[in-house]
């Protein structure tokens, strides 16, 4: 049986997530109070839509919160998202609740009050923007683990310090490592004696605060 996901509120994020989830075989229902947004969401194949307020308990109940494998709260208001998750957990026994919030502070507090996962959008966006503006060496940066870790794609230039060296010779910070090396069309899982060549693309896994340190060792 397909896993059921309930998206409460949101429009742009709901649209993006629902397409992704449906393509991965989930059954998705979106609740949105705005009629025009619902009309636009209705263009997505296989998406169930409820045009009503996602903060009302009876709406969540009728949308199948009790049978949902996950409820994801995506409204504009942190308070609404927190309460939607707590309600779905405490009243409807939803399997898993995920909450999008803007304020970073409340993240840890609501974790044990019915909200299984909290995503602080501000945190993640800030981390990405910071890295993109401060370093030109990263061509892509993806925060994972709620912003605590980053996966970065680094292109090795001709004059990079690491070019021509073995991976084991580079003193990266202890929690950072090169998970994968892309050379021309090939993925290489590098070993300590793999020599890094100009033109290689390194996929670096690194704790959020340590990218600069790692970069200095590589360049």
């Amino acid at each position: 049986m397909k896993k059921r996901i309930l998206l409460a509120g949101g429009y742009n994020i709901a649209k993006a997530i629902s397409i992704c989830l449906i393509n991965n075989g989930y059954e998705v229902t979106a609740i949105n109070p705005n009629y025009n947004e619902c009309k636009s969401l209705a263009e997505i194949d296989s998406l169930n839509i409820i045009n009503d307020s996602p903060v009302k308990p009876y709406v969540l109940s009728e949308a199948g919160a009790a049978n949902a494998d996950a409820v994801i709260a995506l409204t504009e208001n942190d308070s609404d998202n927190i309460v939607i998750c707590e309600l779905c957990k405490k009243q409807f026994n939803a399997e898993k609740t995920v909450c999008l919030i803007k304020s970073d502070e409340n993240k840890d507090i609501f974790g044990h009050m019915g909200v299984d996962s909290v995503i602080s959008s501000t945190n993640i966006v800030a981390a990405v923007i910071e890295q993109l503006t401060l370093t030109k060496e990263f061509s892509k940066l993806m925060p994972v683990g709620n912003g605590k870790f980053n996966v970065a794609e680094i292109a090795v230039t001709d004059n990079a310090v690491c070019a021509g060296k073995k991976l084991g010779e580079i003193e990266l910070p202890s929690e950072a490592y090169v998970g994968c090396l892309l050379r021309k069309e090939n993925n290489i899982i590098p070993a300590f004696d793999t020599v890094i060549l100009p033109g290689d693309i390194l996929i670096l896994l690194c704790p959020a605060a340590k990218e600069q340190v790692a970069l200095k060792k590589l360049f």
Binding site: I82, V83, E86, S103, F110
Partner: protein
Amino acid sequence: MITMGLFSSKKIESYTIVIGCGKLGALICDRLSEKGESVTIIDKCENEFANIAAGYYGSAIEADATDIAALEKAKAFTATTVVCVTGNDNVNIVAAQLAKEVFHVQNVICRLYDRQLECVCHDLNIKTLCPDSILADEVKSIMEAQQG
């Protein structure tokens, strides 16, 4: 000479924070202030403080009460009671939960227009007041008294 004060227990000063300065919040502030109680009112819009009567001598803070920094500014750690009466049930719930879980306030009272949301607060020992329920009970009492 050793004073008797050594063995007397320190009386905890009562201090109330009211969140939301609509009609109800302002009325609560006025009543507490008249009794000489220590009060702080928090509302995210300072224009709302105009609802409070002229005799009020407590504090007023313009801030979002779901922001922990705002509650710290209001010295929530020393509050004996927090009353959440904004116009938004969800804001009331979040503020009440912060008061209980972060600041460990003993008495936390929360108005909820929607009775179905009461379950979210119950296990946290937050007292919820639903206007519809209270008024319905009151109407029933009045009718019973009239019949009796």
